[in-house]
Subunit: 528 residues, 2 copies
């Protein structure tokens, strides 16, 4: 008994030294990892990013106690490609999460798209699973409709959520309501039974369901390292918030949802603290792309940035990025280094001392860990280059504070007429272009420090323009070079209503099977 106590003290001592030394590799076990990944939440939405309404106390507290990245980017200005970037640490052009049916056109995994993330792509979940982590994905997956792309086949031991987003309601005749899975079994459909969303009142319990499941997962895994991917999608339309938040925000229903999500974040962090796991858990908060500005008042805030989701202007890809790990990550840190969700892949490798199976496979991120811990004097970080893709088109590149636009496009007219304008209230001549516009002869160049709003192009006649564009052109050429032999087969070219969730595995147990229809694969029609 005494000897055991002695051993425990030594163990605790070792853990403590590991933690305060800031080197997580020295901790006695691998730290837990939680990624809180929002859907269409803008850079300007959390209070700590300056939102006028200041309604996110829990998210703000993460920043107060951790590190806030001012120049954080998604991997892509839309959902599916961006999430694939997070999971693999690789740009969508490499993983195949794009379409090449038309140059420079966006695509996402609507439920009838036949592709998905390929098995040969190695996800961060797979790497952590191999290290003994218990992994769970909650909420929106949206990285494919194939069997191999299912989260349970991409490294997660548990899954509670949907392959798609919660668009709807559908009629269950021409289109089935999107199905919700628990692990491999369908357990319901959006808009039905416990997964209800009331489009009239704006009430939904989805965020609550995702939160409760996250908390139970943490409780069950107090004694093993875990990886929780909490992809709560409340800020994606159709918007829905828990009843107690309806009408409480200054910002309307969208703000109610943000408050609901912020409350969920608070619950998760509170649980970590209650179980005394907070000093052994790396938490990162971010979003999959900029706000869905074309939704008008049902969208978030891009802060001072130009345009929003779907576009390669700053508003499309600049997102919140907050790292939290009390006692390890320096409190109240402001990090200005450009960084991306793909960097999280390398960062988690670094934190856990893991390695990829194939070191030859190109990664597009780098570990942010040297920035987050107290910096040793010799800490160096390769300056990040940001690549702004639209489909198979490399539209813009940022190196340092300078960003060059080779192509511009807001939205196709058809999309704009149906949905709305991603640049409402914003306009710059020949830049926020309604049609795909080629600027390769004379790219638009901006200094994002002096001009974060991309409103004052640097004149091509200046020395600054010539010098900086040469640097960016070189970075672009090197990047294009790196793609040789590593361009993924496009996964978003073929659509087939036959693959919709008519009768997924498990539907019979809950009496929710629908009669399947014939397969009819045809080219998807992407128009944005």
């Amino acid at each position: 008994m005494h000897r055991d106590r002695y051993r425990l003290l030594i163990l605790l001592g070792v853990m403590f030294v590991g933690l305060v030394s800031g080197n997580p590799k020295k901790t006695s076990r691998n730290p837990n990892i939680i990624i809180l990944f929002m859907d269409d939440m803008g850079w300007g939405d959390p209070g700590c990013y300056g939102n006028e309404a200041q309604e996110t106390p829990n998210i703000d507290r993460l920043a107060e106690q951790g590190a806030l990245f001012t120049d954080f980017y998604s991997a892509y200005p839309m959902c599916s490609p961006s999430r694939a970037g997070l999971m693999t640490g690789r740009l969508p052009i490499r993983t195949g999460i794009y379409t090449n049916t038309h140059f420079g056109r966006n695509s996402v995994f609507f439920p009838n798209v036949t592709g998905g993330l390929k098995a040969e792509e190695e996800t961060i979940a797979e790497i952590l699973a191999a290290r003994g982590y218990r992994n769970k994905a909650i909420g929106k997956w949206h990285i494919g409709n194939t069997e191999e792309s299912h989260p349970m086949n991409q490294g997660f031991h548990e899954f509670f959520g949907s392959n798609g987003n919660h668009l709807g309601p559908h009629d269950n005749i021409n289109t089935p309501n999107v199905e919700v899975f628990r692990d491999r079994d369908m357990v319901g459909r959006y808009f039905e039974r416990e997964f209800f969303m009331n489009l009239e009142t704006g009430e939904s319990n989805l965020t609550r369901l995702w939160t409760e499941d996250a908390i139970k997962f943490i409780e069950r895994n107090q004694d093993v390292p875990f990886f929780l991917y909490w992809a709560a999608d409340g800020t994606h339309t159709p918007l829905g918030a828990a009843k107690e938040f309806l009408g409480t925000s200054q910002r309307g229903l969208y703000g109610d949802v943000v408050r609901d999500l912020d409350y969920g974040v608070g619950q998760i962090i509170a649980k970590l603290k209650e179980l005394k796991l907070h000093r052994n858990t790396f938490v990162f908060f971010s979003s999959d792309n900029g706000p869905a500005g074309y939704q008008g008042l049902e969208s978030g805030s891009a802060g001072p940035f130009m345009c929003s989701k779907i576009t390669t202007f700053e508003g499309g890809m600049r997102v919140p990025g907050i790292a939290w790990w009390p006692g390890v990550i320096k409190r109240g840190q402001i990090e200005k280094e450009p960084a991306t969700v793909m960097d999280l892949f390398n960062t988690i490798l670094d934190i856990t001392g893991s390695e990829v199976s194939n070191p030859e496979r190109p990664l597009d991120g780098q570990s942010l860990w040297p920035l987050l811990i107290d910096k040793p004097k010799d800490a160096t970080l390769k300056k990040n280059t940001i690549f702004y893709y639209r489909g198979d088109g490399l539209f813009a590149v940022r190196v340092g504070d300078y960003k060059a636009h080779y192509w511009t496009w807001t939205l196709g007219e058809r999309f704009k007429n149906i949905y709305g304008d991603p640049c409402s209230g914003q306009y710059l001549e020949n830049f926020t272009t309604d049609t795909l516009t080629d600027h390769n002869d004379e790219p638009f160049l901006f200094h994002l420090g002096r001009d974060p709003g991309e409103s004052y192009p640097i004149k091509p006649s200046t020395q600054e323009y010539q010098e900086q564009l040469a640097i960016i052109n070189k970075a672009r050429d090197q990047h294009v070079q790196s793609l040789i032999g590593d361009i993924g087969e496009p996964q978003l070219n073929i659509c087939d209503n036959g693959i919709l969730g008519w009768s997924p595995h498990g539907c019979e147990k809950i009496d929710m099977c629908l009669p399947p229809i014939e397969h009819n694969p045809m080219p998807c029609r992407w128009f944005f």
Copy 2:
């Protein structure tokens, strides 16, 4: 000796009780007042308001330790009228700081404007002087060129700064360089000798001079209540920063200046702490109007708001507002109530238990004190209505979260061609209008909570529009009613180069007198 110690303890005890009770009237002496008033600094410039560069640690600390107002407004979208509003607690239309030569046109006290703040207007400095305060104005005054409008005739015991702004350099032949005063004596001219600004390098020591003088003033007045109006104007063009800040900001020269000013704020606060005055000093940080967007890269950030200085869109008048008083104002408070610089007048009355000489004279503000101290349950605050004037034209009115635009105008074409566009990168059809546009038949209506960027007008056919516009129309009518008999004689109608600072009092002592020219009063030509 023992008895003295005992007395001291009682005194300290009384002070302590006064302070923690949150009722400043119970403090043993009147608290010091410091207003840190920036020039053309935008809502989006301080880090605590979300600026991407996060370069204002000292200003941010004020917010962390005090109260940050999200919906704070200047009294007017340009300098002189706004500053008159701060000093008098009254809208410029009442104090006469406007022109009526053309409807809805802006004007400021260029050095040849013959008018000024009238003696019958009661300034907050006059009220504090009557209570025994020692008052000093440092930096930019800009509320008139008449003798009666000089700060020394408007309640200040000391003055170090200029009546105008630091535009220039001039040739001292057709136009004299703007003169700098110490109290009533001219002590130099901008661009010359110690008041140098190097337009090539961007170096200027003005902020340093204003800071050093503020610190000396505080040191000299440790034992009497003082009022310091620190109107540092570094963020007004021509921009200039101290040498050690040049090239240090991610934001270019404008950012260097912001860093210089932030350093100055830090020095002033450090001096308060060093002298143990911080728990007896009310500090308020704000700006005179939105950023000078038409200056392009030489301007600040309006954050997510539409357009900038000179306009009645949100970017023209939404400014930072931070209240600081350790131990009295609640730490880390976020205050969403709309408030204005005119409210500071009433707030200071409230804090010091002062009263205006003529209670019949209308004031346009209200005390913010009930918001800042721990709120008693019965604390009520009349909801602020915000009036957006351009000259003699009431262009827009905000009640609650709703704002109606009766008139819109960005800038006259002449101004735009000479200077630039206050809405660069922003555009909304028939709203950001190049010419003066009358919307009285169907005002633009926005919900500033849901749509702070004024990009999604509420449709006139909706019930929401009808109901809210009726409320705003009523507020407008009541306001117009309140102006009867209280419209000030316009002070910015007549210009005369004969009144320029050719040979002000004191010029002979420093050998800087210039030969005066003949008086030649004529109507000023306002075109913006």
